[in-house]
Symmetry: C2
Subunit: 311 residues, 2 copies
């Protein structure tokens, strides 16, 4: 019977690693640098080495280890095939096979957004639920979908790419993905800044936000001060995000949306702006869906990766 | 080892029943009337009775029957709980338990749209795929989602309610569901008629469609004759449906869309109008998704119900 497992979250700058008990208690966490040079050829060998070193350091019997769960920043097929991960320099290869061969341990892998969603379901904002959609509002918008407690991977490992839902027919600028009118362009941290600048430019009204660096945090701080233009920006953020969550609900019918990423640090106030638009556009059967803030921050990925292997 | 099973599709007017081999060959199909009066209290007893009569008629040993799969026109939870099905008069009860108790057979149930999707995956337009979204363009728009060969039920049995995706910000009239701007309002058979009347009214141009009963069929027949206004109507149909399918793809990342229902009888020509809008709005990872027409017609439900129990 396995007593331990590893939850690993491979990011573009660092690899986060956690040693967990089989019950999901985080015993220790550490980081190593992600060596993206040379097509990221060193990343998995580095991971294997630090895992083996930790096993030795802790004097753990290999038979007591359930395995390694891995989250990676790009599409992963169910068999562990990576389909190219731009910011790690990776091409197409089987990450599960490579890490399993070099450690002798069972390995399971998924997309980092799915891992984070699984982590939040298990130990974070989605605790107590089995059907959750994690919406990560950062530089972009990521999504992870868990149904019946299982990660929804999709055909190309590209489910939950909700930042690229077409949501705004009026948009004229292109998203990073090349399309026009994506959710990410209006409701991500960078989207809020972009919309914020437009709102300030198109108005003569006074605002706390004038003559300072606009950020999602500055906008929501100003909202708390009843700043009229900040409220206008937050309404636009909420209108598109609320509408997108209503649309997603008609497809997968979750129990709860968990909102994470930098923007979620503004707190429950974001729901004040998403709720009314969600309710306006939601199908009747979905109107009782709950909303919660993510709780695990940067640890969501390692928790979810651990849960992937614990099952 | 089971040799036979029943696939049953409960509709608002008739209950369709099929006796299948365990390999999925349809041996016999028949129908009974759906007695919706008195809160639909007779429907399941009638089903039980006709199933028992068929078993006797065919002289089948009960041990040779795998069980009964059931599709019903409304949300069904995974445990078989019906959450109220307006057009059968049903309130809340467990349909699996009731039919199982009265037949002594294993029963599994799902929403009729999910059953149809499972049927099309197994023996119809989605054959060879495991991740499909069935879009049924009829009076309304229904949807059924199959992932990894399994029905996606959702929390309230309300996944795949894609007819009620909010897709049209310009809409002024209300959908049957009470919301404004649903996909069903523009791309269903009735939606095409509604849009068609508007297009004809707002134009002075000649059209084959003038002075005749407009229907989805008439519109696509006129499209085949290069009728300018019919093409304009088909463009609107395709724009919204194509965009909706691009949005759904970012959420569940299917391999194939299978299009069924009355509108699909127009044939492959409908893809001429949906394809360009799908490609315009689809996330890069989803652009290779296939499109196919449904093949099983009204039998999709009984096939899918049978597959539900065969597994």
């Amino acid at each position: 019977m396995g007593k331990f497992c590893f939850g690993i979250d491979v990011g573009g700058t660092t690899v986060k690693l956690g040693l967990f008990t089989a019950q999901g208690d985080l015993l220790e966490k550490w980081e190593i640098k992600t060596r993206v040079e040379n097509g990221g050829i060193n990343i998995i060998p580095d991971v294997a080495e630090t895992v083996k070193a930790k096993i030795e350091e802790k004097n753990i019997d290999k038979n007591e280890i359930i395995g390694i769960g891995l989250g990676v920043p790009g599409p992963v097929k169910e068999d562990g095939t990576i389909l190219g991960t731009a910011n790690l320099g990776w091409g197409v290869f089987n990450v599960v096979k490579e890490l399993s061969d070099s450690t002798g341990l069972t390995v399971k892998a998924t997309n980092d957004a799915n891992a984070a969603a699984l982590g939040e379901m298990w130990k974070g904002g989605g605790q107590g639920y089995k059907n959750i959609v994690l919406v990560t509002l950062g530089t972009g918008i990521g999504g992870g979908i868990i149904l019946n407690g299982q990660v929804l991977s999709g055909t190309n490992g590209a489910s939950g790419e909700i930042g690229h839902i077409h949501i705004n027919d009026e948009e004229t600028e292109a998203c990073g993905c090349g399309n026009i009118g994506c959710l990410e362009q209006v409701s991500s941290a960078t989207g809020i800044v972009r919309i914020g600048k437009k709102v300030l430019k198109n108005s003569e009204k006074p605002s706390i936000l004038r003559n300072k660096e606009i950020s999602a945090k500055a906008v929501f701080d100003a909202v708390k001060e009843d700043d009229e233009l900040a409220i206008q920006i937050a309404e636009i953020f909420g209108e598109y995000l609320g509408k997108a969550m209503a649309i997603i609900a008609t497809v997968v019918d979750p129990q709860v949306y968990v909102i994470g990423g930098g923007v979620s640090k503004a707190g429950d106030i974001i729901f004040k702006f998403t709720d009314k638009y969600f309710q306006k556009h939601a199908f009747s059967a979905n109107r009782n869906i709950k909303f919660a803030l993510a709780k695990l921050g940067n640890d969501a990925g390692i928790y979810g990766a651990a849960k992937l292997i614990i099952g």
